[in-house]
């Protein structure tokens, strides 16, 4: 085995080990993960995704891309689901180290630089949501594998690899739109710069565009028709849309992408903007431009944009490293090369690995105590009951509690989502009993859940409108569950 292969394997294993240690030491999963866990569970039981969910929002249609869920359901056949949900995403994201290495090596032919890139990709802080079970963890390796295949399009086997990865990614996550937009910017900039595009590249980009659009139309036809151009914002309530699509913050980018690769990447990109004949770097630059543009225009979620940019910056770092080594060879400071390398490794460790671990511990996950309360709901509440929880907890009510929720984080195709969101928040904050009962009747909510998470989120210690006539406490073990007993007479 070559030294490079050994080091790459070591980086992969180190990434995987750290991710798994963190995933298993932090209890449970991020709130959004429970939606996907429920889908996997349903696929394992019935073979089909739950496109009509009888529990979410009291029953609604919800289209989504299912490949990731099917993959997880396959492993669920012979392994416990919670184990699969912790290992599979971390394994897939660790594979990014290998893919990033391959792309960097293709671009620079510098193995040492490519290993640095792989290391940066492995410990990219934004990717260290180790307890998130999201389709993105499959989509990212597929997208970067597609980019790698695209760079090797002159070889037939890579054409088929590209088609395969692109096809699977199309049915995994809409994240692939970044690749398509990047291609469009690539064509546009090539046209402006009068760079002649390879015929095969144009054809592949065209085919990708049409296939991607078609695949999304098949799954999201109803969303497009109902929400029009608003489908981009996923029907997210206007009061929280800024937290999903916040403004582009340089400070945040510095921490989440890590300062060293980001600065090196920006430097290399600027240099290549001025003078580059390297098409592969130019292609990556187009991906960065498209992602930044869309993030600034608030057309994609910030975390998605930062993840994509972070990985591309990691790849670009190899080019920076190569240029720097060439520069050293030409100057008298080449004797300090080893010291410089050691410093760089230390710097990268300090700016990637440490923030990555901090980011992992910052993940929002429910406590064991809260999870027990959701499990209690499943065992003790009537099967037709609707339970009030905060928007994030909606997925836990349906996954563990197996009861209807009033709201959750899947907003697509929900009528009057703004109104509902406001009403649910009012139920946590209102002082007035009649108002609360009116809203509880409106959404046919019979049980109210007050978790430490909700207390912290809404800054309350208890529901302000409780009285013994209309509300009875049915569970009290850190998490309080009340039954609503009254209805407003509308005569």
């Amino acid at each position: 085995m070559k030294t490079t292969t050994k080091v790459l394997l070591l980086i992969f294993l180190a990434t995987l080990a750290v991710r798994l240690i963190l995933a298993f030491s932090i209890p449970n999963f991020t709130y959004e993960s429970y939606f996907h866990l429920r889908q996997v569970e349903h696929i394992s039981e019935t073979g089909l995704p739950l496109y009509h969910d009888p529990l979410s929002y009291g029953g609604r249609d919800l289209p989504f891309l299912p490949v990731f869920h099917y993959l997880a359901a396959f492993f669920d056949l012979f392994l416990p689901l919670e184990f699969v949900a912790k290992v599979l995403p971390n394994l897939l994201l660790s594979l990014l180290t290998v893919i990033v290495f391959l792309i960097s090596r293709k671009m620079t032919t510098n193995e040492a630089g490519s290993l640095f890139s792989a290391g940066i990709a492995g410990f990219l802080p934004i990717l260290f949501s180790t307890n998130a079970f999201l389709p993105r963890s499959l989509a990212l390796p597929l997208i970067f594998l597609a980019i790698y295949s695209f760079m090797n399009i002159d070889q037939e086997k890579y054409l088929f690899l590209y088609i395969f990865t692109f096809l699977v990614a199309s049915f995994t996550s809409s994240f692939l739109s970044l690749l398509i937009i990047g291609f469009m910017i690539y064509v546009f900039l090539s046209f402006i710069e009068r760079k002649k595009l390879n015929k095969a590249e144009i054809e592949l980009m065209l085919a990708s565009l049409f296939f991607y659009l078609w695949s999304q139309f098949i799954f999201f036809k109803d969303v497009l028709i109902t929400e029009g151009q608003g489908f981009i914002w996923k029907n997210i309530p206007s009061s929280i849309i800024t937290s999903y699509f916040p403004g582009f913050s340089i400070a945040e980018a510095l921490v989440l992408i890590s300062i060293a690769p980001l600065l090196a990447g920006i430097f290399t990109c600027f240099r290549s903007l001025i003078n580059t004949k390297e098409r592969k770097l130019f292609l990556l630059l187009c991906f960065i431009i498209s992602t930044v543009l869309f993030a600034v225009l608030k057309l994609i979620a910030l975390d998605a944009a930062l993840t994509f940019i972070g990985l591309i910056m990691a790849i670009v770092f190899a080019s920076f490293y190569q240029d720097m080594m060439l520069y050293f060879q030409k100057t008298k400071v080449s004797t300090f090369k080893n010291i410089f390398l050691a410093t760089m490794i230390m710097l990268l460790l300090a700016t990637t690995a440490y923030p990555a671990v901090v980011h992992a511990f910052d993940q929002q996950t429910p406590s064991d105590e809260e999870v027990l309360a959701f499990k209690w709901i499943n065992e003790h509440l009537p099967a037709a009951a609707t339970v009030l929880g905060s928007v994030e907890e909606g997925n836990l009510i349906t996954y563990y509690g197996k009861r209807k929720n009033a709201i959750d984080t899947q907003f697509n195709l929900v009528n009057d989502v703004d109104q509902r969101f406001r009403d649910v928040n009012s139920l946590f904050t209102t002082q007035f009993e009649t108002h609360a009962i009116d809203l509880l009747n409106k959404y046919e909510i019979q049980y109210l859940l007050l978790t430490p998470h909700a207390k912290e989120k809404f800054g309350i210690k208890r529901f302000h409108y409780l009285n013994s006539k209309c509300f009875s406490l049915v569970h009290h073990d850190g998490v309080k569950i009340y039954q609503s007993l009254c209805a407003l007479d509308r005569k």
Binding site: A200, E203, A207, F210, F211, F217, I218, L224, G228, D418
Partner: protein, 455 residues
Amino acid sequence: MADNSKIRKEEKNQDPLIVEILVRYQRGVIILVAVALLCSYFFQRSFHNIPLFRNGESYYYLNMFPFHLVPQHFFAVVPPIVGGLTLLLFFSLGKKLRWDGKFTFFFTLLLVISPTFLSTYTSLSGYAIAVLLVLMGLALFLRPSISRYFSLLPFLLTAFFDVWSSFLVLCVLGALFLYVKQAAHEKSSRIFLAIVMVFVVIITLANVIFKDMPFFSGPFHLSSLLPDLISDLGGWSGISFFVFILALIGITVIWTTRNKFISYLFLLLLIPAYLLSTQTVFYLTLGLVFFATHGFIHLYKREWSTQFLKDITIWILILSILFSTVTFFQRTALSSPSIDDLEALVWIKEYSNKDEVIFSSPENGLLIRYYAQRTPFYSLEEDDPERLKDARTVLNSTYTSTTFPLLDERDVSIIYITPPMKKDFPSDQGLLFLLKNERFKLLFEREGYEVWLYK
């Protein structure tokens, strides 16, 4: 039109047999497809027992004297006949001008399966008649005999719809003038065209001055720039997103052809008009489908480095465009007015006085006039900004001190609420919230359609 030399130059490989057959018998095939689509639309509505025409422009004409005296289904044959005649005239024009067969086939195919074609030729549309008249005029004008002078009549009739149609006819006549200058020997044709143009201008001006003819007809629905153009985003007309992309490809492809300037000129006229009024989407669609056809033929004729990739792409394109058409068809074939809509409006007609004013969403104005035979507070096509503002105030204001004087001022006594209104306006604000006030009394309710009395 199609740059034949360019297309022929690119024709290197043999077409599949099916394409050859379709192109050869295109007239029959396309008209059959068009008539089948249009008729199945009306059959579906008839089968579900809902009014044959969906809410919009049709009711504008149906409300006119003497059309409102004639049963609605009598008019259902009109749009398919207009559509069929338009296509026939287009083919005859193509034959006369020797357009490339493949171009006319793909152009008409993309047009016929476009949502705009479906929505225009399933309703009583002024623009559809205008296009038919222009084609008639062209067909007559290009005849060698004396009958060419009869083209004056159809050309002049196009000046009765709106200023924009008249302007486009003038552009077409202008283009024809240039064409005649290049091709014909006789001077009389040019003089005739000049006379026709002068007459079109005079009639248009007379209509504007004496009949208050609008610049753009409508609006007959609430405009929305993107969805009205791209039907996949939930609009009631427009083109498939894939046809739009093909049009973009076509725009770049045409750059290399001889006739690029005239094509771009028309596009440069059509786009601003659409931005001003989405009602003109029919004309813009004709332009975009023209470019999309060029785009499609370019992709189809181009020699790809991987044949397999070409096959996939062409198939995906065909499937996607058909998918958009089918989706649009499903959506519109059962669109408003529904049977419950009808029951509520007929209830108003039977149980209210003839002079009562009905308040509802401006889009329901034409239906209120036609089915309830009452005066709406405001109807969309009235295009009166002041009254539109009042209607919006009533719909959105939660204060009785704002809403009640406006309702009193216009003698409104009936409020008509529909499910789309409940979807568009929050129940805890605006008029829907005010309905809890004691001055409102629910008179009729069925499947979300409500009639309220305002005292």
